[in-house]
Symmetry: C2
Subunit: 188 residues, 2 copies
DNA sequence: TTTTATTGATTGACGAGTCAATAAAAAACC
DNA sequence: GGTTTTTTATTGACTCGTCAATCAATAAAA
């Protein structure tokens, strides 16, 4: 029953299943078989298309990164005045898509992976650089020297992720918390 | 060659070896044999004293938490004026012992583990509660309503950990960054 | 002789990656 | 247009390692 042109479909299904499975397990202790089963295929096929487990994880990470980038970009282009960009960037980082349990769990594990998998470290650095760049540009309309504030806000955003995982803070107040901090850093 | 009273010695050696091994691997993908070898004993003995891998990890986590607590407590008692407590608490969180690669790596992995191991989640919540409590008390001398600022600073501290792992920010400026933010939140 | 310390050997399970086999679409060839 | 060949899709079965956990055996102290 081989329908042609399955490769992109299968890859997408596997990536989605990977994120879901990581979210369900709360860790990277997920077998290729589990991922493949959730994606509706055999584990052999998963290996056929991705080559190995690492590459599946990396692909999942790229996917999440792409989703995140899209979220931020659309938030920025929807900005009328440049003064609104700061709030837009921050709120984009607290969009529901970023706070789905599976996504948060994947992020957490990618941080761990970044310690030993060079490609994961590279991808995470891209994310951090882009976030810092976005914050810098946005802050330029509120403060003369935006770099320190941008670094602080970047770290703060990451930190709130951790709290969200443990259920210590509700994510609605999370964005407002960061915004309040941003205003304080910008000198009101 | 059984010398008596080995249990506490062996346990301590295993805990220390666990942290070191996690740091070296950058993840929890560490075998009991590796840990035991580094601690200078057989894997069977590790199982004999701890019962299982999970308990070894938990013990390592408790150890790190204890070390951290001691760091904060000594920093607080060394404070002459109560106004200095805020800076003391923050700086304690950026003490060299907290930023050793092995320790940071262990923390990261404990965050991941807290998603699926209830006892790990409990321990992490104790840490967060204690940090928030310390920040709250310290902030009372600078601001009338300390809770929001304490929550923000707690998240910020955690966030800087992530940056440190990826080498994006040098840990010397990290503490100063948080302090600057604290002053901004306290209204100068 | 009972308790504590210690390990080598073993078991049993699980999981990543491989491979040969099957089947259908497409392309090449006559 | 029909036949052959190649390419793409797909899987079940298998291999090979690894590793957590167990256990029986050894030895020294109490």
């Amino acid at each position: 029953m081989p329908k042609l042109g399955m490769e992109p479909v299968r890859r997408a299904a596997l990536v989605q299943a990977t994120v879901a499975e990581i979210g369900a397990a709360g860790s990277l202790d997920v077998t290729v078989s589990q991922i493949a089963r959730r994606a509706g295929m055999s584990s052999a096929l998963a290996h056929h298309y991705f080559g190995g487990k690492d590459q599946i994880f990396l692909a999942a990470m790229r996917h999440i990164l792409r989703e995140y980038s899209a979220e931020v970009r659309s938030a920025l282009t929807a900005c009328a005045r440049p003064q609104d960009r700061l709030a837009a960037v921050i709120r984009a980082n607290f969009a529901p898509s970023c706070f789905e349990p599976a996504t948060v769990s994947a992020w957490l594990n990618f941080y761990v992976q970044a310690q030993s998998v060079p490609e994961a470290a590279r991808l995470l650095r891209i994310y951090q650089k882009r976030l810092q760049s976005n914050l810098c540009h946005a802050l330029r309309w509120h403060v003369t020297d935006p770099l320190p504030a941008a670094q602080t806000l970047g770290a703060l955003i990451d930190g709130v992720y951790l709290r969200a995982v443990l259920g210590d803070c509700d994510m609605e107040t999370g964005a407002e918390q960061v915004l309040t901090c941003a205003r304080a850093l910008a000198g009101e």
